[in-house]
């Protein structure tokens, strides 16, 4: 079970990081609510 869980967690984390970074540049949430974005993702000049 552990052998499957670790790669699965890596996969979920990678997808979540992709969604998070995409969401920091454009509005990923087409539905009418969005969770609070962490400060590390706020882009600055």
């Amino acid at each position: 079970m552990k052998r499957i869980l670790k790669p699965l967690m890596v996969l979920i984390s990678t997808l979540a990081l992709f969604i998070a970074s995409t969401s920091s540049m454009a509005c990923f949430a087409w539905a009418l609510r969005e969770p609070k974005m962490p400060e590390s993702l706020i882009k600055e000049d």
Binding site: L5, K6, M9, V10, I12, S13, L15, A16, L17, F18, I19, A20, S21, S23, S24, M25, A26, C27, F28, A29, W30, A31, L32, R33, E34, P35, K36, M37, P38, S40, L41, I42, K43, E44, D45
Partner: protein, 205 residues
């Protein structure tokens, strides 16, 4: 804490247990990514299923794509609570579809609506929220240009299908999304417009 955030924080704890070398910052980003995914996916599944049941899936998809194409760059007001989001999303998407099916717009009506929307997008896009402020001026400029481009592309599509339900649905999708970026809509929804600009101005003082 809302339902998507509750699930995402539980899942993030499991990830943190299995991948021990991840820093706090990355875990916060993973938590946010999962929450965004959950927030969108279960609502979309519900709305997609409803569109299939109502036998309007084709028109719904056009509304969804047109609305989403502009919303991706222009953003706009969001619901504060999870329980208000699903009914609001459902009303907006199905309202657009049924309005498009009921009202046939001619070339003048489409052109006037798109001109007003284009002016509003130039003035107010991108409209960020307290949850996701857009602080970078460069990013704001880029998103404004992309929003205007999306309006022009959708206007071309609406003209191509003029006199059909598709044209009306595209036009109403752009109209609804444009209304969602207006400061007056933010006031009505008790949200703050231009959070990113305010943060940027404070830092520059």
């Amino acid at each position: 804490m809302e339902f998507p955030e509750r699930v995402s924080s539980k899942l993030t704890s499991v990830i943190a247990d299995h991948l021990e070398d991840l820093p706090e910052q990355k875990l916060a980003e993973i938590n946010y990514g999962i929450a965004v995914f959950i927030t969108n996916s279960y609502k979309m599944l519900f709305i997609f299923a409803l569109a299939i049941l109502l036998n309007i899936f084709k028109y719904f998809l056009i509304a969804f794509m047109s609305f989403g194409a502009l919303r991706t760059f222009a953003s706009g007001v969001h619901a504060k609570r999870e329980w208000t989001c699903l009914p609001a999303s459902t009303i907006f998407f199905f309202g657009i579809v049924y309005l498009g099916m009921a009202a046939s717009l001619n070339v003048y009506a489409v052109s006037i609506i798109f001109s007003l929307c284009f002016a509003a997008v130039i003035r107010y896009a991108p409209a960020d929220t307290e949850e996701r402020p857009i602080v970078s001026r460069k990013l704001r400029r880029k998103l404004r240009i992309l929003s205007c481009t999306a309006v022009v592309v959708l206007y071309t599509a609406a003209l191509y299908y003029i006199g059909t339900v598709i044209s009306s649905i595209i036009t109403f999708s752009v109209l609804v999304e444009t209304v969602l970026i207006l400061p007056i809509t933010y006031k009505l929804a008790d949200s703050m417009y231009g959070v990113g600009i305010k943060i940027n101005n404070k830092r520059e003082v």
